[in-house]
């Protein structure tokens, strides 16, 4: 069943996801949403990896491994980032990125 879907569809989906993530990353000012956008980007990459693995090298498993690594990194990254956000919020009462400028210049 999955073979019925051509590779280009997967790629289109991951590209869309990727650019939505980039767009969110660039425009949102809330740190949480920025983090969510990063997750979108990472997941777009994951889809790409898996799709290429499945369609081009079906007998290899590197794509799967790699996406598992990405998920692990993304999870730890999310943990660290959220910890920072919480501390930030406690200190300066905001998670708006533009207002975090205490150390600027």
């Amino acid at each position: 069943m999955i073979e019925a879907i051509p590779l280009t569809h997967w790629l289109t989906l991951s590209t869309l996801l990727f650019f939505i993530g980039v767009y969110g990353f660039l425009t949102r000012s809330n740190l949480i949403t920025i983090l969510i956008s990063i997750e979108l980007i990472l997941n777009a990459v994951n889809i790409n990896l898996l799709a290429f693995n499945k369609y081009l090298y079906p007998e290899a498993l590197e794509g799967h491994f790699f996406s598992l690594f990405v998920i692990a990194v993304a999870a730890s990254e999310a943990a660290v980032a959220v910890a920072i956000f919480i501390n930030l919020y406690r200190n300066i009462n905001t998670v708006e990125v533009e207002e975090v400028n205490k150390m600027k210049y």
Partner: protein, 639 residues
């Protein structure tokens, strides 16, 4: 023929200068004074002894006076051939100058014991006076032109220090500054002249420059600049130096102001010795002037002639007695310059040279006497202004008689000394140029007029009410007056042409009565006019002044030369050169540096936005970069 002891003649005053300068504050003032007088007495005795030996015993070989280098030490080496020596050169003019300087300086030293008594800075006065004596002696004894330039500067600075002796008085400060800067400006000419001359001859040494080979070298110089040959430039520039020191028109402006100094200083420096240094300089290089570039000598003659007339006219109108004497000095130095200018080098027509030196000699006596007499008058009445004086012949008998002697001498009445020297000058001028002779003849009359105007106004006329009853000066002041009066009377009988000539050979000169009689006549006319106007109280003088109108007024204001100078310095140099430069430096040069600084600031202000610290922005630039690169690569690799 060992003259090596002559080195001590200048050295003694130098030692005195150092001693008094360092220790003067620690001893009683009078000790400084006595030290100065003693050391100068020794110098004067040595000089007179030297003159006796040189002129009468062994200076001449086969009737020709020799140049003797009594001592020579290298002081500074520039190149293998150009070096400054500290030497002692004895020849007729330097030995003659030795006597004049040490003698007049001694008189002034003695006189100042009385005149300067009780002044603050008495020791300072004597130490600088010693410095001056040292420098002036070094100047006349110089064996090379650069040594002369060094001492030339040193006499300049001692003159500066002495004019500014009353340093709390603004006018004295201004006068000293003016004197130094004007002569310094002239010295620049001297220096450049030396540079040119030494470049062409390869030496500073007088005896090489004026030797036959030296003159031949100079004669062969062909290089020229703006139409004049290099040697003409050199001599003219050197003459500018001399003219500055000798107060020749138009560099004379400092001399009348220099009278702000104490009167003995005026007598020594600004009448008898330093101001004739210019004449001495031309005389020293006379062979170069006369044999190589006679054109420059003509310039010397005309500058001298014009200055003497110019100064004599101004002297007739001044009311400050020291200023009258200052202009009279300028006028008499004009005579000396003119005499040099009309002279030839060879013994047959070198009367002018001898006359010039002769007049320098006699002038030193009677002008020093006049100044010291004026000092005695000022000392008695506490004023410089002639119109506030009168009838002093009773209260100041010695001053009166000696002053009269000096006036007769300067007016050229026989048998006083001025008659003989002036007669020789007039003869020389008559033979060379009739116009110059006419000018000098007229100046002779003017001289007699203004001197007797001074004499009658001060000693005759109405008695004034003085604050203090004037009384005769102490012996320390009158003794020099009497000695100088004897000199002013008798100096004319010295047969100068037997001793001082351009080549060293000698000749005999006679009084030319066909010229002497008209000059005596014009002098007598001057005296009678002065007597008619000033001997008794009347208003003839003021009505005469009124009838002359603008001429009198401009002469009274010294023909506005001072104002022209002031305009040149204040308005032109300060305002249009110096101020713009200062502005340019602050605003353009410095502004450029600040501009570079602010440009860096500006740029960093602008580009520091890139480093915002916002990851989103970085990511945006990153993405933009990736996309751009992608497009570029796709574009390039697709073809």
């Amino acid at each position: 023929m060992d003259y090596s002891y002559t080195i001590w003649i200048p050295l003694l005053p130098l030692i005195t200068f150092v001693l008094i300068g360092l220790l003067g504050g620690k001893v009683k003032p009078i000790v400084s004074g006595i030290t100065g007088v003693l050391s100068l007495t020794v110098s004067a005795c040595l000089s007179i002894f030297t003159a006796y030996r040189y002129f009468l015993v062994d200076g001449a070989v086969d009737g020709v006076f020799q140049k003797i280098i009594a001592s020579n030490h290298t002081w500074l080496r520039f190149t293998d051939t150009l070096y400054i020596d500290m030497g002692v050169l004895l020849d007729p003019i330097s030995v003659m100058m030795l006597v004049v300087i040490t003698f007049i300086s001694l008189m002034v030293h003695v006189y100042s014991l009385g005149y300067m008594k009780g002044e603050t800075g008495f020791s300072r006065f004597y130490s600088v006076l010693s410095l001056f004596s040292f420098s002036m002696l070094g100047l006349v004894l110089a064996s090379n032109i650069f040594q002369m330039y060094m001492f030339w500067e040193l006499v300049g600075v001692s003159s500066y220090l002495l004019i500014g002796y009353y340093y709390t008085k603004p006018s004295a400060v201004a006068a000293s500054k003016k004197a130094f800067i004007v002569t310094r400006f002239a010295d620049l000419g001297f220096l450049v002249g030396i540079l040119i001359l030494s470049f062409q001859t390869g030496t500073f040494d007088f005896s090489i420059i004026t030797s036959a080979e030296g003159l031949a070298t100079l004669g062969n110089v062909t290089s020229s600049f703006i139409g004049l040959s290099a040697i003409t430039w050199a001599t003219l520039l050197i003459f500018i130096g001399g003219a500055g020191k000798s107060a020749m028109f138009p560099l004379h402006v400092w001399l009348p102001d220099a009278m702000e100094g104490p009167t003995p200083v005026s007598a020594l420096i600004h009448a008898a010795t330093m101001v004739v240094a210019g004449v001495y300089l031309v005389a020293r290089l006379f062979p170069v002037f006369s044999l190589v570039v006679p054109g420059s000598l003509t310039v010397v003659a005309w500058v001298g002639g014009f200055s003497s007339l110019f100064a004599a006219i101004i002297a007739c109108t001044q009311i400050d007695i020291k200023r009258v004497l200052a202009y009279s000095t300028m006028s008499q130095i004009g005579y000396m310059m003119l005499a040099l200018g009309v002279s030839g080098y060879l013994i047959e027509d070198s009367l002018g040279f001898t006359a010039s030196m002769f007049h320098l000699f006699t002038h030193a006596f009677f002008k020093a006497l006049l100044f010291l007499g004026a000092g005695a008058i000022i000392h008695a009445v506490h004023s410089n202004v002639m119109t506030e004086m009168g009838g002093l012949r009773k209260s100041l008998p010695i001053t009166h008689i000696t002053f009269l002697v000096a006036c007769l001498a300067i007016a050229g009445i026989p048998p006083f000394s001025g008659f003989f020297s002036k007669d020789e000058i007039l003869v020389a001028a008559f033979e060379a140029n009739k116009i110059l002779f006419a000018i000098e003849w007229l100046v002779a009359g003017l001289t007699a007029f203004y001197m007797f105007r001074l004499y009658f106004s001060v000693f005759w006329g109405k008695n004034r009410n003085y604050e203090h009853e004037p009384h005769e000066a102490p012996l320390s002041m009158t003794l020099p007056l009497i000695i100088l009066a004897a000199g002013a009377f008798g100096a004319g009988f010295i047969p100068f042409s037997h001793f001082v000539t351009s080549t060293g050979e000698t000749f005999t000169s006679h009084i030319h009565w066909n010229i002497a009689i008209p000059s005596i006549a014009v002098a007598l006319i001057g005296i009678f006019v002065a007597a008619w106007l000033y001997k008794s109280e009347n208003d003839r003088a003021s009505s005469l002044a009124a009838s002359l109108g603008i001429l009198y007024k401009s002469a009274y204001n010294k023909f506005y030369i001072d104002e022209i100078y002031l305009f040149m310095t204040r308005q032109v140099i300060f305002k249009y050169i110096s101020e713009p430069i200062a502005w340019f430096d602050r605003h353009i040069v410095d502004g450029t540096v600040n501009l570079v600084g602010s440009f860096v600031n500006f740029v960093s202000e602008r580009i520091k936005g890139f480093q915002s610290g916002q990851v989103q922005q970085y990511a945006f630039y990153f993405m933009a970069g990736v996309i751009t690169l992608t497009i570029v690569f796709v574009y390039f690799y697709s073809n």
